[in-house]
Symmetry: C2
Subunit: 290 residues, 2 copies
């Protein structure tokens, strides 16, 4: 069993840190809002620390799971950041969905200290974090991956090494690009079904075994028909992710015409006050009942 620090107890990090503790690792947590650390300690074995640096000082593996690039820089490179106290040979693993640039920068900065860095964004959502069945897409050196793999597996169904530093983040971006246009297509199809006077649920049952099938159709189709947009990945977070995708796409020469359009639709939903709704709320913009 390893000594582990976990920095960032949000809706994802809280249960992920819990799975690490449940596997028997000695977990020290840090969270910007201390009440959240207190809540975690009330239900899990472990310790809490006052700063990311203090949490990380004694750890073999330091996990970060925060909001965005800036938060990530702060908890790793900032004055009380984890890297100020981590020892050479320990490994820094970031579960934040961040830019590939941030991953490359941390790989470089941690490397200077003899600390391998792995970018390890996850998919599977809050439910996946809670039941320990996330998919973890990892970029970084193969040797560090091999050392960290079984520890990461504490909260994962699959841990996949995708390539060099940044490759984990880039894979997560592919995931989000595929989802954006897919959900929009599903919304257009279901709105058409309603407008055509069809029984939408019956339509989903009829077409969800064939070439139009998708996880989104099976898991969100019927709730979209019922205008329930309150239990998946939030529009605000999706816009953050798509912003990272579109910036990276400009750099690597990718044309993402439909992804760009869908990003604009999500901006429209935010403008209407729907930033906390889930990504299937694209339905609102094409369903004339709204």
């Amino acid at each position: 069993m390893a000594k582990v620090a976990f920095i960032g107890l949000g809706v994802m990090g809280f249960p992920m840190a819990g799975h690490l503790a449940a596997r028997g690792h000695a977990v020290t947590v840090f969270n910007r809002t201390p009440a959240r650390s207190q809540a975690w300690l009330e239900t899990h074995p472990g310790r809490s620390a006052e700063t990311p640096a203090a949490a990380a000082a004694d750890a073999d593996f330091v996990f970060t799971c925060v909001g965005n690039d800036d938060d990530l820089y702060q908890v790793t490179l900032g004055p009380d950041g984890a890297l100020s106290r981590m020892r050479a040979g320990s490994i820094l693993i970031d579960n934040t969905t961040a830019s590939a640039d941030a991953a490359r920068k941390l790989h470089l900065e941690a490397g200077k200290l003899g600390i391998p860095f792995l970018d390890a964004p996850v998919s599977g959502g809050q439910a996946g974090a809670e039941n320990g069945k996330l998919t973890v897409m990892v970029g970084g050196d193969a040797e560090a991956f091999a050392q960290a793999e079984t520890v990461i597996a504490s909260y994962a169904r699959a841990v996949v090494h995708m390539g060099v530093a940044g490759a984990g983040q880039l894979t997560k971006m592919v995931n989000q690009i595929c989802i954006a246009g897919l959900v929009q297509a599903l919304a257009e199809g279901l709105a058409f079904a309603k407008n055509a006077g069809l029984d939408g649920e019956r339509v989903i049952d009829a077409i969800s075994k064939g070439a139009a099938q998708s996880w989104q159709m099976e898991n969100r189709g019927k709730t979209m028909l019922a205008s329930q947009f309150d239990f998946g990945f939030a529009v605000d977070l999706m816009r953050k992710d798509l912003g990272i995708c579109l910036e990276e796409a400009r750099r690597n020469g990718s044309l993402l015409p439909v992804t760009r359009v869908v990003d604009a639709y999500y901006a429209e939903i935010q403008k209407r006050g729907g930033g906390k709704l889930d990504t299937s709320s694209l339905m609102m913009l094409v369903d004339r009942d709204h």
Copy 2:
């Protein structure tokens, strides 16, 4: 066992008529090009006729599976069309992907003769037709559906009654709308993966268990990465179907912004001479290797 006429022995109709014969129905075929009827008779029990009318004269169930609305009108309402000889109480079943208007018109015209009409477009492609595992989406009167269901089931995995005349066609349109934007999103994601230097196949393996999963990702993703666009549903046919969708959408007030864009991309592929490529060829327009 029933007396069945089958009009239109294309890549879909040929094996569908074969499954009807294999179930023991007495099948009479008609095809515009007689050589195709000859080929069918060489491998199946049955008869061929010189005109749709002659094929339909004695039948309990008359199936049509032709190219588009105009072809459908010709083989049913034309001078030697099936309706000129069908007897009252026999049932006309159309497997063409046609407009909902055509379905409503045939429902009306056949109804005047005491002949129930069912619009029954299929999904599952050539492979589904060949192995008798199509999904059949049926519109029309419930009583006629009940009489025809087991006969249609000869070539189907699922036969679903969707509602009144036209509802089968409208359901097929939902299917095509969902596919159009979904394939474009997949193409954008996979092109991004290539441009980012990722191993695309590895990316598909990593993300195809989660929220980005789709039949298209599982069945076309890797061939798209390899620029193989030669074994699915053709762009020319998809454009015909999307034309029907977009016309119907204008009428019922559906906004299909992404579907419209993807239709324009398919037009661009046709312009480049790719009309016979399959629908996954959207990859060509976003992959900078093309």
